[in-house]
Protein backbone atom coordinates (compact mmCIF):
# COMPACT_ATOMS: atom_id res chain seq x y z
CA UNK A 1 0.00 0.00 0.00
CA UNK A 2 2.76 2.44 0.97
CA UNK A 3 4.70 1.36 -2.09
CA UNK A 4 1.78 1.98 -4.46
CA UNK A 5 0.90 5.39 -2.95
CA UNK A 6 4.44 6.72 -3.09
CA UNK A 7 4.86 5.31 -6.61
CA UNK A 8 1.75 7.17 -7.80
CA UNK A 9 2.96 10.36 -6.09
CA UNK A 10 6.44 10.17 -7.56
CA UNK A 11 5.61 9.47 -11.23
CA UNK A 12 4.20 12.96 -12.02
CA UNK A 13 7.02 14.49 -10.01
CA UNK A 14 9.60 12.74 -12.19
CA UNK A 15 7.95 13.95 -15.39
CA UNK A 16 7.70 17.49 -14.03
CA UNK A 17 11.37 17.50 -13.13
CA UNK A 18 12.77 15.82 -16.25
CA UNK A 19 10.49 17.34 -18.90
CA UNK A 20 11.58 14.66 -21.40
CA UNK A 21 9.31 11.92 -22.71
CA UNK A 22 11.61 9.73 -24.84
CA UNK A 23 12.03 6.02 -24.13
CA UNK A 24 15.37 6.30 -22.33
CA UNK A 25 14.26 8.86 -19.75
CA UNK A 26 10.90 7.18 -19.10
CA UNK A 27 12.51 3.78 -18.43
CA UNK A 28 15.18 5.39 -16.25
CA UNK A 29 12.45 7.19 -14.31
CA UNK A 30 10.39 4.04 -13.75
CA UNK A 31 13.45 2.18 -12.45
CA UNK A 32 14.48 4.93 -10.03
CA UNK A 33 10.92 5.53 -8.82
CA UNK A 34 10.57 1.80 -8.10
CA UNK A 35 13.81 1.71 -6.10
CA UNK A 36 12.98 4.89 -4.16
CA UNK A 37 9.45 3.82 -3.27
CA UNK A 38 10.64 0.34 -2.24
CA UNK A 39 13.23 1.76 0.14
CA UNK A 40 11.64 4.97 1.39
CA UNK A 41 7.88 4.43 0.88
CA UNK A 42 7.41 3.86 4.61
CA UNK A 43 9.06 7.24 5.30
CA UNK A 44 6.96 9.18 2.83
CA UNK A 45 3.64 7.75 4.04
CA UNK A 46 3.95 7.73 7.83
CA UNK A 47 0.51 6.57 8.95
CA UNK A 48 -1.07 4.26 6.34
CA UNK A 49 -4.27 3.88 8.38
CA UNK A 50 -5.34 7.50 7.83
CA UNK A 51 -8.20 7.95 5.40
CA UNK A 52 -7.77 9.79 2.14
CA UNK A 53 -10.27 12.64 2.90
CA UNK A 54 -8.49 13.39 6.19
CA UNK A 55 -5.21 13.72 4.32
CA UNK A 56 -6.79 16.00 1.72
CA UNK A 57 -8.32 18.14 4.47
CA UNK A 58 -4.91 18.60 6.05
CA UNK A 59 -3.49 19.81 2.76
CA UNK A 60 -6.36 22.26 2.23
CA UNK A 61 -5.96 23.60 5.76
CA UNK A 62 -2.25 23.97 5.21
CA UNK A 63 -2.47 26.34 2.22
CA UNK A 64 -3.93 29.41 4.04
CA UNK A 65 -1.47 28.75 6.87
CA UNK A 66 1.35 28.89 4.32
CA UNK A 67 0.20 32.29 3.06
CA UNK A 68 -0.04 33.62 6.61
CA UNK A 69 3.49 32.33 7.22
CA UNK A 70 4.76 34.09 4.08
CA UNK A 71 3.43 37.43 5.38
CA UNK A 72 5.07 36.75 8.76
CA UNK A 73 8.39 36.08 7.00
CA UNK A 74 8.25 39.43 5.22
CA UNK A 75 7.47 41.15 8.54
CA UNK A 76 10.30 39.36 10.33
CA UNK A 77 12.82 40.28 7.65
CA UNK A 78 11.87 43.93 7.84
CA UNK A 79 12.12 43.70 11.65
CA UNK A 80 15.66 42.29 11.52
CA UNK A 81 16.77 44.80 8.88
CA UNK A 82 15.33 47.65 10.95
CA UNK A 83 17.25 46.51 14.02
CA UNK A 84 20.52 46.01 12.19
CA UNK A 85 20.34 49.41 10.48
CA UNK A 86 19.29 51.38 13.56
CA UNK A 87 21.96 53.84 14.71
CA UNK A 88 22.06 52.78 18.36
CA UNK A 89 21.80 49.02 18.18
CA UNK A 90 22.32 48.12 21.84
CA UNK A 91 19.43 50.22 23.11
CA UNK A 92 16.74 48.63 20.95
CA UNK A 93 17.39 44.95 21.71
CA UNK A 94 17.18 42.93 24.89
CA UNK A 95 18.00 39.27 24.14
CA UNK A 96 16.51 36.68 26.48
CA UNK A 97 15.49 33.03 26.74
CA UNK A 98 11.82 32.17 27.09
CA UNK A 99 10.26 28.77 27.80
CA UNK A 100 6.67 27.70 27.31
CA UNK A 101 4.75 24.46 27.29
CA UNK A 102 2.78 23.33 24.29
CA UNK A 103 -0.12 20.90 24.27
CA UNK A 104 0.47 19.68 20.72
CA UNK A 105 0.93 15.91 20.63
CA UNK A 106 2.21 14.86 17.21
CA UNK A 107 5.88 15.22 16.35
CA UNK A 108 5.14 16.71 12.97
CA UNK A 109 2.93 19.49 14.33
CA UNK A 110 5.58 20.32 16.93
CA UNK A 111 8.11 20.56 14.12
CA UNK A 112 5.83 22.88 12.14
CA UNK A 113 5.29 25.05 15.23
CA UNK A 114 9.05 25.26 15.87
CA UNK A 115 9.78 26.22 12.28
CA UNK A 116 7.02 28.83 12.31
CA UNK A 117 8.38 30.37 15.51
CA UNK A 118 11.81 30.59 13.89
CA UNK A 119 10.36 32.32 10.84
CA UNK A 120 8.25 34.89 12.71
CA UNK A 121 9.77 38.21 13.84
CA UNK A 122 12.45 38.20 16.51
CA UNK A 123 12.19 34.64 17.81
CA UNK A 124 14.18 31.45 17.24
CA UNK A 125 13.42 28.01 18.66
CA UNK A 126 16.50 26.65 20.41
CA UNK A 127 15.35 23.33 21.84
CA UNK A 128 12.28 21.12 22.15
CA UNK A 129 12.19 18.57 24.96
CA UNK A 130 8.89 16.64 25.13
CA UNK A 131 6.45 19.52 25.31
CA UNK A 132 8.75 22.33 26.46
CA UNK A 133 9.97 24.87 23.94
CA UNK A 134 13.10 26.92 24.68
CA UNK A 135 13.02 30.09 22.63
CA UNK A 136 15.48 32.92 22.16
CA UNK A 137 13.76 36.28 21.74
CA UNK A 138 15.44 39.42 20.48
CA UNK A 139 13.32 42.13 22.10
CA UNK A 140 10.97 42.47 25.07
CA UNK A 141 7.77 42.88 23.08
CA UNK A 142 8.17 39.69 21.02
CA UNK A 143 9.12 37.77 24.19
CA UNK A 144 5.87 38.75 25.87
CA UNK A 145 3.82 37.84 22.80
CA UNK A 146 4.76 34.15 22.80
CA UNK A 147 3.37 31.67 21.79
CA UNK A 148 0.55 33.81 20.45
CA UNK A 149 -2.09 32.45 18.15
CA UNK A 150 0.38 30.30 16.27
CA UNK A 151 -0.27 27.23 18.39
CA UNK A 152 -4.00 27.26 17.74
CA UNK A 153 -3.38 27.81 14.04
CA UNK A 154 -1.11 24.75 13.86
CA UNK A 155 -3.63 22.74 15.88
CA UNK A 156 -6.37 23.68 13.45
CA UNK A 157 -4.32 22.51 10.46
CA UNK A 158 -3.70 19.07 11.97
CA UNK A 159 -7.07 18.65 13.71
CA UNK A 160 -5.61 18.52 17.21
CA UNK A 161 -7.22 19.64 20.41
CA UNK A 162 -5.27 22.01 22.63
CA UNK A 163 -6.11 22.75 26.24
CA UNK A 164 -5.24 26.07 27.75
Amino acid sequence: MQFITSFILLVPFWFLMSGKFDMFHVVLGIISITIVSLWFGNMLIQSPKKSFPARLGEIFNFIPYLFWLLIEIVKSNIHVIKISLSPNIESCINPQFVTFKTSLKKDFSKFILANSITLTPGTVTVRISDSEFLIHALTDEVASGLPGDMESKVAKVFNERISK
Binding site: V80, S84, L85, E90, P95, F97, N115, T118, V124, L134
Partner: protein
Amino acid sequence: MTLIAIILIILGLFFFFGTSIGILRLPDFYSRAHAAGKADTLSTILIILGCALYYLDYSHYDLASFNVAFKLFVIIAFVFIGSPTATHAIMDAASSAGVEHWSKDKDKS
Protein backbone atom coordinates in the same frame (compact mmCIF):
# COMPACT_ATOMS: atom_id res chain seq x y z
CA MET B 1 8.63 41.90 -17.28
CA THR B 2 12.39 42.20 -17.24
CA LEU B 3 11.99 45.38 -15.19
CA ILE B 4 9.98 43.52 -12.52
CA ALA B 5 12.65 40.81 -12.42
CA ILE B 6 15.38 43.42 -11.95
CA ILE B 7 13.44 45.13 -9.16
CA LEU B 8 12.93 41.80 -7.37
CA ILE B 9 16.61 40.91 -7.60
CA ILE B 10 17.71 44.34 -6.36
CA LEU B 11 15.28 44.09 -3.42
CA GLY B 12 16.75 40.67 -2.61
CA LEU B 13 20.25 42.11 -2.74
CA PHE B 14 19.19 44.91 -0.38
CA PHE B 15 17.92 42.36 2.13
CA PHE B 16 21.18 40.38 1.84
CA PHE B 17 23.08 43.62 2.47
CA GLY B 18 21.02 44.30 5.57
CA THR B 19 21.67 40.77 6.80
CA SER B 20 25.42 41.17 6.43
CA ILE B 21 25.37 44.46 8.34
CA GLY B 22 23.28 42.82 11.01
CA ILE B 23 25.76 39.95 11.39
CA LEU B 24 28.60 42.44 11.81
CA ARG B 25 26.84 44.84 14.19
CA LEU B 26 24.79 42.70 16.58
CA PRO B 27 26.47 42.05 19.94
CA ASP B 28 26.47 38.28 20.55
CA PHE B 29 26.27 34.86 18.95
CA TYR B 30 22.53 34.32 19.29
CA SER B 31 21.41 37.63 17.88
CA ARG B 32 23.82 37.23 14.98
CA ALA B 33 22.25 33.86 14.24
CA HIS B 34 18.91 35.69 14.20
CA ALA B 35 20.12 37.97 11.44
CA ALA B 36 21.78 35.17 9.49
CA GLY B 37 18.83 32.81 9.65
CA LYS B 38 15.98 35.21 8.99
CA ALA B 39 16.78 37.69 6.31
CA ASP B 40 18.29 34.92 4.22
CA THR B 41 14.89 33.41 3.55
CA LEU B 42 13.21 36.45 2.06
CA SER B 43 16.20 37.55 0.01
CA THR B 44 16.66 34.07 -1.46
CA ILE B 45 12.96 33.92 -2.33
CA LEU B 46 13.10 37.35 -4.01
CA ILE B 47 16.25 36.62 -6.02
CA ILE B 48 15.03 33.22 -7.22
CA LEU B 49 11.63 34.67 -8.11
CA GLY B 50 13.39 37.34 -10.14
CA CYS B 51 15.50 34.73 -11.92
CA ALA B 52 12.43 32.62 -12.75
CA LEU B 53 10.55 35.64 -14.14
CA TYR B 54 13.54 36.71 -16.20
CA TYR B 55 14.03 33.24 -17.65
CA LEU B 56 10.32 32.88 -18.50
CA ASP B 57 10.40 36.18 -20.34
CA TYR B 58 13.72 35.42 -22.03
CA SER B 59 12.46 32.15 -23.55
CA HIS B 60 9.00 33.55 -24.48
CA TYR B 61 6.98 31.38 -22.07
CA ASP B 62 7.45 28.01 -23.80
CA LEU B 63 6.87 24.70 -22.01
CA ALA B 64 10.53 23.96 -21.26
CA SER B 65 10.97 27.29 -19.48
CA PHE B 66 8.04 26.52 -17.19
CA ASN B 67 9.90 23.33 -16.30
CA VAL B 68 12.93 25.41 -15.31
CA ALA B 69 10.74 27.81 -13.31
CA PHE B 70 9.20 24.87 -11.45
CA LYS B 71 12.68 23.64 -10.49
CA LEU B 72 13.53 27.10 -9.16
CA PHE B 73 10.36 27.04 -7.05
CA VAL B 74 11.47 23.69 -5.62
CA ILE B 75 14.66 25.45 -4.48
CA ILE B 76 12.49 28.04 -2.70
CA ALA B 77 10.60 25.24 -0.94
CA PHE B 78 13.85 23.67 0.27
CA VAL B 79 15.19 27.00 1.56
CA PHE B 80 11.86 27.48 3.32
CA ILE B 81 12.37 24.24 5.25
CA GLY B 82 16.15 24.18 5.45
CA SER B 83 16.96 27.68 6.68
CA PRO B 84 15.03 27.57 9.99
CA THR B 85 16.21 24.02 10.62
CA ALA B 86 19.86 25.00 10.17
CA THR B 87 19.46 28.06 12.42
CA HIS B 88 17.81 25.88 15.02
CA ALA B 89 20.63 23.31 14.88
CA ILE B 90 23.33 25.98 15.30
CA MET B 91 21.52 27.64 18.22
CA ASP B 92 20.95 24.28 19.92
CA ALA B 93 24.63 23.39 19.58
CA ALA B 94 25.65 26.75 21.06
CA SER B 95 23.26 26.48 23.99
CA SER B 96 24.40 22.95 24.86
CA ALA B 97 28.02 24.12 24.65
CA GLY B 98 27.12 26.79 27.22
CA VAL B 99 27.51 29.99 25.24
CA GLU B 100 26.18 32.86 27.35
CA HIS B 101 23.88 35.38 25.74
CA TRP B 102 24.49 39.11 25.78
CA SER B 103 22.32 41.26 28.01
CA LYS B 104 22.15 44.92 28.83
CA ASP B 105 22.88 44.83 32.56
CA LYS B 106 26.10 42.84 32.58
CA ASP B 107 29.07 44.70 31.17
CA LYS B 108 31.40 41.90 30.30
CA SER B 109 33.59 42.00 27.28
